[in-house]
């Protein structure tokens, strides 16, 4: 188990072409992150945001141009991956094609000249820990295994040698939906069971929320925000985080504040006092999450509904529509009748305010105190 300290890491990729052109933007731009022992951190971001690069730098596969990486306070920057002892699971599983499952698990022990007995022993133990039916996978070549089975072997390959740090690079995104769900739960269980420090890269925020004790949102080689899901959801550090986290996404509506009243699409409301203090007069971007609307009030806005998606398991429905030409999503009771029009009032206590066309939040509602 290890504590990971990523300290102001900068990484440029050398261009792949014969004639070098400097695209300028680094893959990692001054990234710092502390991961506590046994903690699972999800790293989420759209493709190209640098999340996989960060993982490779931590693994030692890529060397940072600047900055340090420390395991338990020990500087490992420049230490070869072979000597770091981390475990990594890849999106394409990366099982050794010429070896059966068992050979894949024993690979580490082969490389390190461990005794055959030790290898056998560890493989057996791991198979037991991996659960029912795993034995069967050991006797097969990777090409004959399904994606889910391959991923189980790949995970076992890491677990078999008790790595201090687990790095997972979109491990389940190649699986179909049902299997993904299952494997997600399984990985989560394993991580809880072994309490291994883990960096888990994904582009799927649901997965990130599910896996991570904390979530890192990355964008263009920088960390936008680190925090629990609630932190990210209720107190986003930027408009990007606000729009990235949450599904369906937050609706952003251009509005204006005049004398403490919010003007939007011909309607107006008084701003609650905490908001009023934070939001000056003038144009402002109002952002409302689906659950941030009140229905059927007299001063409501007219929402023209495109369609309604019902989620019986959640006992809710989402109405997708527009207000003043902007897309909005409104949560409804699951038995809400089918209608073309809704009247919805933004709950200004649960609303987010951003500088017009800027990233900076002026006011966020903060974590809901449920209890």
């Amino acid at each position: 188990m290890a504590r990971i300290d990523i300290d102001h890491v900068v990484k440029h990729y050398v261009d792949d072409r014969i004639v070098q052109t400097n695209t300028g933007r680094p893959a990692l731009d001054d990234v710092s992150l502390q991961v506590a022992d046994g903690e699972t951190i999800s790293i989420v971001g759209s493709s190209g945001c640098g999340k996989s690069t960060l993982l490779k730098v931590v693994a030692g596969i890529e060397d940072p141009d600047q900055g340090r990486v420390r395991y338990d306070g020990v500087d490992v920057t420049g230490v070869r991956p072979q000597e770091r002892g981390v475990g990594m699971v890849f999106q394409d599983y990366a099982l050794y094609p010429s070896m059966k499952g068992k050979g894949n698990l024993a690979y580490y022990f082969d490389v390190h000249d461990s005794s055959k007995e030790e290898a056998e022993q560890r493989v057996r133990e791991t198979a037991e820990r991996m659960g029912v039916g795993f034995d069967l996978l050991l006797g097969q070549v990777p090409t004959t295994l399904s994606g889910g089975e391959q991923q189980r072997v790949a995970i076992a390959r890491c677990i078999v040698r008790d790595p201090p740090l687990f790095l997972m690079d979109e491990p389940i995104c190649n699986l179909d939906a049902k299997l993904r769900e299952q494997t997600r739960v399984e990985i989560r269980k394993l991580l809880r069971k072994f309490k291994i420090t883990t960096l888990y890269v994904t582009h799927d925020q649901q997965e990130a929320i599910f896996m991570g004790d904390r979530i890192v949102v990355m964008r263009d080689g920088r960390i936008e925000q680190v925090g629990t899901f609630d932190d990210l959801y209720y107190t986003p550090a930027s408009r990007f985080v606000a729009t990235f986290i949450g599904s369906p996404p937050i609706s952003v509506l251009p509005a204006a504040v005049t004398d403490g009243r919010l003007q939007l699409a011909g309607a107006s409301w008084d701003l609650p006092s905490p908001v009023r203090a934070a939001v000056p007069d003038g144009p402002v971007d109002l952002a409302i999450r689906p659950e941030g609307w009140r229905l059927d009030e007299a001063d409501g806005l007219a929402v023209s509904v495109r369609h309604i998606e019902r989620l019986p398991t959640e006992r809710a429905a989402f109405a997708y529509g527009t207000v003043a030409g902007r897309n909005v999503t409104v949560i409804l009771p699951v038995d809400h009748p089918e209608r073309d029009q809704l009247t919805a009032t933004p709950d200004l206590d649960r609303a987010y305010f951003f500088e017009p066309d800027g990233e900076r939040p002026l006011h966020t509602p903060g974590v809901l105190e449920l209890f």
Partner: protein, 313 residues
Amino acid sequence: MTLQQEATETAGGAEPPAGTESQVREPAPSRRRRLERALFVLPAFSFQLTWGWYPLLMAFVISFTNARVRGPIEFTGLESYERMWSDPLVAEAFRVTAIYAVLSIGLTFFIPIFVAILLMEMPKRHIRWMMLLWFIPLSGIASTLLFRYMFNAQYGLFQWIATEVLGLEPQPFLNSSDQVLFWLVFPGILFFGPGLIYMATLQGIPASYYEAAEIEGAGFWRKMWTISLPRLRPVISMLLIFAVIGSTQVFEYPMIMTGGGPGGASRTVVMYLYELLQNLRYADATALGVFLFIGTMLLVIIQRRFFREDPDA
């Protein structure tokens, strides 16, 4: 229109009555379909027949005759085979061909595998430069003529390198029956043989395989043995057949470089076959060709056996 019809027919035939045998067995094609299939196959088949099997068969037949260009052809039984079997120069040509094949396959087929793997360790930008150099078009004959000069033992570039750069005694190069085959193969090493194909294949291996291995502590050699070589295996298996056939049938290159000398030390089977043709000994030449064919087939069969086995089984 035919395609459409076929599509309709396929669609129509896609739902055979449940529980009948036709579920497992392909439905018998209609007469029309059979005709269509035959028409599609016909061009390729007739091409193969006229340019592939017919000459092969005729060569085989000719080898049992006196094979005169004009006039009556008589069957002479195994005479040509006996003549070729006991000709000391045939044995010598096979010996030369075998050594050439071993050298050529070893130096220009297997070594490039490792060179390609090593090169892949270089920064990608450098690799592309190297590939660009190898792709510079150089006509086979032109480069052969170039090497003919470079190998000259009196004023060639290689002699200059040997004596002036490496400080060795003057080397005989092609003028030595012990060295000539090596030097004939040597330019092939510089031209990297099928190395580019290896590199292309290696580039198709996801980086994550190597990363996974590195993380598990694997060094260069282990990565090569457990990832690169297994992934190259199918390519190697196929190219090796071509290499075996190519090197056992080598002709133009030694013909231009040495004409078979010194003292027949670089005369391959096909070169001797060509000499027989020049002497109008067609039957002998075809008999020799049959010997070579059998020898090459044996090698290919052995190769197939070797590569069929699964290393992990």
